[in-house]
């Protein structure tokens, strides 16, 4: 074994060096605009990250096939930020330091975003996310933008919807993640502000698959409605299914995860009639539908429709601002352009960014799940009832 090892270590080492040297030389040619992308390509957020990356790649290919930005192509430099602050920091340093990139689209996870944002703010590098929803990101700095709506907005809309539907006693079941917990807190805050009462609250860890004990406890409180806040579609669908199996027939409210395709497949007819407040690509939005069709054609399957639209729009907004500044190293010019821009794309029309880099002009809608037999790819399994009640 030792002889073998001695024989192989040197060629093996040389191979690594060779590969790296090739990597070093791999980056010459005419000058495209270079944009960094940081998404959770592996680890807990990989579904979100991979969908976002696919949507971004699709948008870039479209722009390049149409002749680029004033003749210059766009090149994405992709790094994996793995949903963690540590990996976001090394990914960020790799992009800015090794590749010399000033404009980064990402990340898909709020934790990664909050890890890299202080660095981006200090260095004057743009960090532009289509997926991160933690409300704290609003305050992260001048160079930090997002097209994803803050959980705070979703919570206010859900709280108002509950109150408007006549719910006075609410129970909640929540996955212990930043997104799900953020939705619950802001929902409960708004619901209680309106005068409602939360009579039971349960939390579960991300790997739990049996919710019957917790649900039984909650239903024992005789609530008017159950609110589900999940991070994973599997859990969201299972809760609905097990809740109905336990004999609960009251209304169920949720957000986008529990009405995702996987969740509805698991819940089956148990989900029928469930209401959710979601960011949704409107059927009237021609651009949005076109993007979904193209995505379906290219990758064969649509998941997280709104988020892929958001990631897709980010590339076009970035292209618009690159066209104006004409320089991918000019982060300050890009930032100023972002504050000015008004965009109509896949996720909405005439939306823009406020002084905190938060998107304004997008709204959540209320949807109601259809019976299992009526669910199709086109209606995504639910009816859009209209925008969320404001007061």
């Amino acid at each position: 074994m030792r002889l073998l090892s001695r024989k192989w270590v040197v060629p093996f080492g040389l191979l690594i060096i060779l590969v790296m040297a090739v990597a070093a030389c791999n980056g010459q040619g005419d000058k495209p605009f270079r944009i960094g992308v940081m998404e959770s390509l592996t680890g807990p957020g990989e579904t979100y990250g991979n969908v976002a990356l696919q949507a971004k790649q699709m948008a870039v290919d479209e722009i390049n096939e149409a002749g680029g930005i004033d003749g210059r192509m766009i090149e994405l430099v992709v790094e994996d930020s793995k949903c963690s602050a540590q990996d976001a920091i090394t990914a960020y340093n790799k992009l800015t330091d090794v590749d010399g990139i000033k404009i980064i689209l990402g990340t898909s996870c709020s934790g990664a975003m909050l890890g890299a944002a202080p660095l981006a703010e200090k260095d004057g590098v743009i960090l532009f996310s289509g997926l991160a929803t933690n409300p704290d990101i609003a305050e992260a700095g001048d160079y930090i933008f997002r097209t994803s709506m803050s959980d705070a907005q979703l919570g206010v809309d859900t709280g108002n919807l509950l109150w408007a539907d006549g719910v006075r006693k609410l129970v909640t079941i929540t996955e212990a993640t930043d997104y799900a917990e953020g939705v619950r807190r802001t929902t409960v805050a708004q619901f209680e502000k309106r005068g409602g009462e939360v009579v039971g609250a349960e939390r579960y860890a991300s790997d739990v698959t049996d919710f019957r004990t917790q649900l039984t406890k909650l239903f024992g409180e005789n609530p008017d409605a159950l609110h589900i806040s999940a991070q994973a579609e599997f859990a969201g669908g299972t809760i609905v299914k097990q809740g109905r199996e336990l004999g609960y027939d009251g209304p169920i409210y949720s957000e986008i995860v529990a009405v995702g395709k996987t969740a509805l497949d698991i819940a089956g007819d148990a989900a029928t009639g469930m209401k959710a407040v979601v960011a949704d690509i409107s059927p009237e939005n021609a651009k949005g539908q076109e993007v979904l069709t193209n995505f379906q054609e290219r990758y064969g399957e649509i998941t997280l429709a709104w988020y892929l639209g958001s990631a897709y729009d980010d590339v076009y907004i970035a292209a618009e601002c690159l066209k104006e500044t004409g320089d991918d190293q000019d982060a300050d010019g890009f930032r100023d352009c972002m504050y000015e821009v008004t965009w109509s794309g896949a996720i909405g029309e005439n939306y823009s960014f406020d002084e905190k880099g938060e998107v304004v002009g997008l709204t959540n809608v209320v949807v109601q799940v259809l019976p299992a037999a009526e669910r199709t790819v086109d209606n995504q399994g639910y009816n859009v009832l209209g925008s969320a009640p404001s007061e």
């Binding site: 074994m1 090892s5 060096i17 696919q54 540590q86 090394t90 340093n93 790799k94 090794v98 807190r185």
Partner: protein, 351 residues
């Protein structure tokens, strides 16, 4: 401190076996080849982007502190612990809670106290808290050995993670804590990456010195004897329980130190940084580097982090598959490494 009894043949044989492990008697060819690869990788990163190399270097140094401290348990004493990440997290959370001074907290519904203490005042507290927790659970853990010890340390890692996640009044749960302070001496803030790297390397140096002192002392020889044959050393009147508790606490305090440095460097932590998987990675680093070798643990941490970060430079991958492909390559490299060097890069023992 126990003195080393001269008159016993079994112990003498043990000692001879151990002292043999200090001498670099075997061919060092593989070691140098490994070193060459690592130095080449580090040099390559420095050449491509010094800032990137420095941030990778900082994580290497933090992981090296963790690996060296875990090696005290796994390599030198023979206690296979997969709960080390718990102490790492305790250190990190102590640093975060006591130094964080956020200007904004939109979701902070409970009024959490803000301490905003300086970094250098908190760092000893990180070690102390980790040490105290280690004493408390160590008293119980000491009753277990071998496979059972692995299981209870596994339990500790899971419990620690759940405390970080669910004790919202203290840790902010899944939201994590941001705006964690960087170290400062008077007006001089360690804001730059290089200064922080030097600081971490300084602490790594201290930890290595402490470990070296421990393993070469008579205390260290008793630890080695515990690893080889716990009953035998107990027969000679050594209170094995005390020795194991002592090394457990020392190791935990070092992990707490690493946690404090980690939190301060990232300025944001959430429970996802302290999952069980990190512990498993840590154990693989120690095994990869080589059991009962301080140098091996440092080398292991370097190899592991550099391999992972080096994957960012692998070319010719279609963007859609980048993440997965890197993981596969990394896994294959690790398997290859274990096939050719089951005793680790510079280690003497197989697990």
């Amino acid at each position: 401190m126990a003195t080393y009894p001269r008159g016993n043949s079994r112990l003498r044989a043990l000692a001879a076996r151990l002292s043999g492990s200090w001498r670099m008697s075997r061919s060092n060819f593989e070691l140098w080849a490994n070193l060459l690869v690592i130095v080449a990788a580090a040099g390559f990163m420095l050449w491509r982007g010094p800032g990137f190399a420095i941030s990778v270097g900082t994580f290497v140094a933090i992981w090296a502190i963790l690996a060296v401290s875990l090696n005290l348990l796994v390599g030198y004493t023979g206690l296979l612990s997969v709960g080390h990440v718990g102490f790492f997290g305790i250190g990190a959370y102590t640093m975060a809670i006591l130094t964080s001074n956020p200007a904004y907290e939109q979701l902070r519904t409970e009024a959490l106290p803000i301490f905003a203490w300086p970094f250098f005042a908190v760092l000893p507290i990180c070690m102390a808290v980790a040490g105290l927790v280690a004493i408390a659970i160590g008293v119980v853990f000491n009753r277990f050995r071998d496979d059972i010890f692995v299981l209870v340390s596994f339990g500790f890692a899971v419990i620690a993670f759940n405390v970080f996640l669910n004790w919202e009044g203290l840790t902010r749960g899944a939201f994590g804590i941001h705006q964690i302070a960087r170290p400062a001496i008077g007006p001089w803030v360690f804001d730059g990456e290089v200064e922080f790297l030097l600081l971490v390397v300084f602490f790594l140096g201290l930890v290595v010195l402490a470990c070296w002192f421990i393993v070469t002392s008579s205390f260290g020889r008793v630890l080695a004897a515990i690893r080889e044959d716990e009953e035998a050393i107990a027969v000679f009147g050594y209170r094995v329980v005390h020795y194991k508790l002592a090394v457990w606490v020392i190791s935990a305090m070092m992990a707490g130190l690493a946690g404090g440095l980690f939190a301060s460097y990232t300025t944001f932590i959430d429970p996802n940084s302290f999952i069980l998987l990190e512990s498993i990675l840590l154990v693989s680093i120690v095994i990869l580097g080589g059991l009962s070798s301080i140098w091996g643990s440092i080398l292991g941490a370097m190899a592991f982090v550099l391999l992972e970060e080096g994957m960012r430079f692998v070319p010719f991958l279609p963007t859609e598959f980048i993440g997965q492909a890197r993981q596969v390559v990394l896994g294959l490299l690790l398997v290859a490494l274990m096939l050719f060097r089951p005793q680790g890069l510079v280690g003497r023992y197989k697990l």
